[in-house]
Amino acid sequence: MANVKVHEFDAVIVGAGGAGLMAALYAGETANVAVLSKLYPTRSHTGAAQGGVGAALANMEEDSWEWHAYDTVKGSDYLADQDAVDVLCKEAIPTIIELEHMGLPFDRFPNGKISQRRFGGHTNKDTGKPVMRACHAADRTGHMILQTLYQQCIKKKVNFFDEYHVVDLIRVDDTVRGVVAIEIATGEFHIFRSKAVMFATGGWGRCWQVTSNAHSLTGDGAAICLRRGIPLEDMEFFQFHPTGIFKLGILITEGVRGEGGVLINGKGERFMETYAPNIKDLASRDVVSRAIYLEVKAGRGVNGKNYVHLDITPETVNYYYEKDGEDRRIDREYIEAKLPDIADFTRTYLGVDPVTEPMPVQPTAHYAMGGIPTDADGRVLLDAQNKVLPGMYAAGEAACVSVHGANRLGTNSLTDLVVFGRLAGQDMAKYCQDAELLPLPEGAADEVMAAFDRLLNSSGGVKMVDVRSKMQKSMTEGVSVFRTDETISTTLAELKALREEYQQVEIQDKGKIFNSDLLEAWELGCLLELAEVTAVSAAARPESRGAHARDDFPERNDDEWLKHTLCHKTGEGEYELDYKPVTLGRYEPKPRVY
């Protein structure tokens, strides 16, 4: 341990996205906090979120947090824990107001209040009609949240360790003692010794071929927890957004279809008419994703490839409006005004002008509903009995509270970040006041350093990119919008082989400074593990619920499967599943129809 630098803090927060920064602000009020991030904080993927953050502010029309809670529970296919959902929806209101007081530049209504808009699944419970609940700042809500929180952290002089890659959690029995990180610029190992640790490291969409997620979203935090004896909850539920730009996965918001856009297959048919005769293209995310998948599988993709067209050109939209007997018509100006950012994306990346040409889209891996199990204070739970691991916290997409259950509602992730980020931060501060700084175990960083040494010196000649591509392909084929026993088993077998192959990955860069070759390889290890956990969890759930759609078990089975999955790692490639009950409340499970 000679060349390992040791730092001491009350609390260490890993991840500087919306969740990590929110926690840092609140924990930092009384505790001495360090925020570690492998990216500069403002580069976290929270900045990519577009649509809005949900809170029942009722700035323009009647709304209540109970309605918000109802929508969330229904959207989750009743798998969400309703006590946590209540906290989410109730706390959302003061939290959003607080963000405004921090200077967040929300758009405004003419009356000067925060502007809100409609979003899929958010309704007035009395009328069943959509309600304006998504608070937003243009199409850049996530960006504004991230920037505002970072700005406040600078104001409060939070200790940032930018471009520090956390690679291990120091856990001794049922205590946490800190984390091990690599300073990317020097390649040196550092130990951050602390009373409390929080993981807010975001999602792992990079397990799949096509994703809206950043290159850096490799699920490090979840994987580290898994390796350190913490189970992962509900990993089979991963949301696929139906309209990502072909090949790139860049998100095209639901708003396009809200404005009349239609999905067209290779034969020029509006295929959603057959899958969801009533609401057609505006069916929920999981339904539309499955429809696209089936079209492509039946050879009706555009040009025989694996994509379909999303068409917002006035001719097409007006044609279908007329056919459906609707009075509305749209024109070029309307599209330019309503969807400027989408127009920019498609023009930049496809050279496609959405006003005159259809956009090629395919489902894109988007959001992890599952993750590190926590309670509503962000405290990490170790088992089905909800045993707390003292001092250990998780928040944001990496965590599973669980408020999203089997399918997350649009805008609820940003709400999740700020609400539970804040609560976890506050709880952490409280914890740090009473807790003691425990001694580091002997050679706390030795194990992970040895692992890195092995990785660096492996001479198997396998290229990392090959392993990663194979994993992404396998996950896309076996565990994506659709899965059956057969596809999952195939993927599991392939992942097992890839685990072997991964041992042979050879790193070309042998240096220390900015060795992204090495770190990417390590991240691939995390992805492989999470992919396997996802597949194992999915294989064991013989029902269809939310994002987990089993061709061989198309029905939801509340009698046996209204429960959360917990996946423990028991050895290399060995996992043990456990289940815990869903906390029900006001809203009884019933069939999900919109």
């Binding site: 580069r43 990519a48 007081h101 000067g112 209040k113 994306f345 990346y349």
Partner: protein
């Protein structure tokens, strides 16, 4: 198509001087981005190539590079926009004016230090409304600083500015954009403190309206206009 790639390389652990590395790639899709091309080099040919990247669609600000002579985000620059025909020449260098750490990676600290100088955070110590709700703001007031809220701190602008190349003490366009975002926010009360920073000798006066910053900004922010607005506040005393 074919891509002939020239990349400015420098590994402080091996090289005493930077040099040009050449790579030739076949079967590049014209709609691939420069980031895709660089990733291919890194993953398939030379794993030691170092660059920053994350979101891959122009919203995180990681991969500001100098591409064919001018600054841009690699992930927002399509190969086909750099040339047509069967073969395209692409030249990639680190951005200017910040110390190079390795290959395409520069030390961002001087840039971030200037960012922090302008007090880039909301300042309002008066009590929020009594009803516990948001402060009100008219849509017109909100629109005044809309453009400058889009900044992703990529440094494309600051590292394209000759005034910054000449003298790194100049706070640079990105920091002024941040100052503008708060100075023009009707809810903010820290304008005078910020104006004292950007009105200093190394503030806005160093801007010679060169406009490279605006041309380079991947978020299409009217950077020069924002700087001119701040200059105007400093000369008229009115926001």
């Amino acid at each position: 198509m074919q891509v002939n790639l020239r990349i400015r390389r420098f590994n402080p652990e091996k090289d005493s001087k930077a040099y040009w590395g050449e790579f030739n790639l076949n079967d590049v899709d014209p709609t691939d981005t420069v980031l895709d091309v660089l990733n291919r080099v890194k993953w398939e040919i030379d794993g030691t190539l170092s660059l920053r990247r994350s979101c891959a669609h122009g919203v995180c600000g990681s991969d500001a590079l100098r591409i064919n002579g001018s600054n841009a985000l690699a992930c927002k620059t399509l190969v086909k926009r750099l040339g047509s025909g069967d073969s395209v020449k692409i030249q990639v260098e680190p951005i200017l004016g910040l110390p190079v750490i390795k290959d395409l990676i520069v030390d961002m600290e001087p840039f971030m230090a200037h960012y922090r100088e302008v007090l880039p955070y909301f300042i309002n110590d008066s009590e929020p409304p009594e009803n516990g709700r948001e402060r009100l703001q008219s849509q017109e007031d909100r629109m005044r600083f809309d453009d400058t809220t889009k900044c992703i701190l990529c440094a494309c602008c600051t590292s394209s500015c000759p005034s910054f190349w000449a003298n790194g003490q100049y706070v640079g366009p990105a920091a002024i954009v941040q100052a503008h975002r708060f100075i023009f926010d009707s809810r903010d009360e820290g304008a005078e403190e910020r104006l004292a920073v950007v009105g200093d000798a190394f503030g806005v006066w160093r801007c010679r309206t060169n406009f490279n910053c605006t041309s380079a900004c991947p978020r299409d922010i009217e950077v020069t206009e924002a700087i001119a607005q701040v200059k105007k506040v400093l000369t008229t005393g009115e926001i």
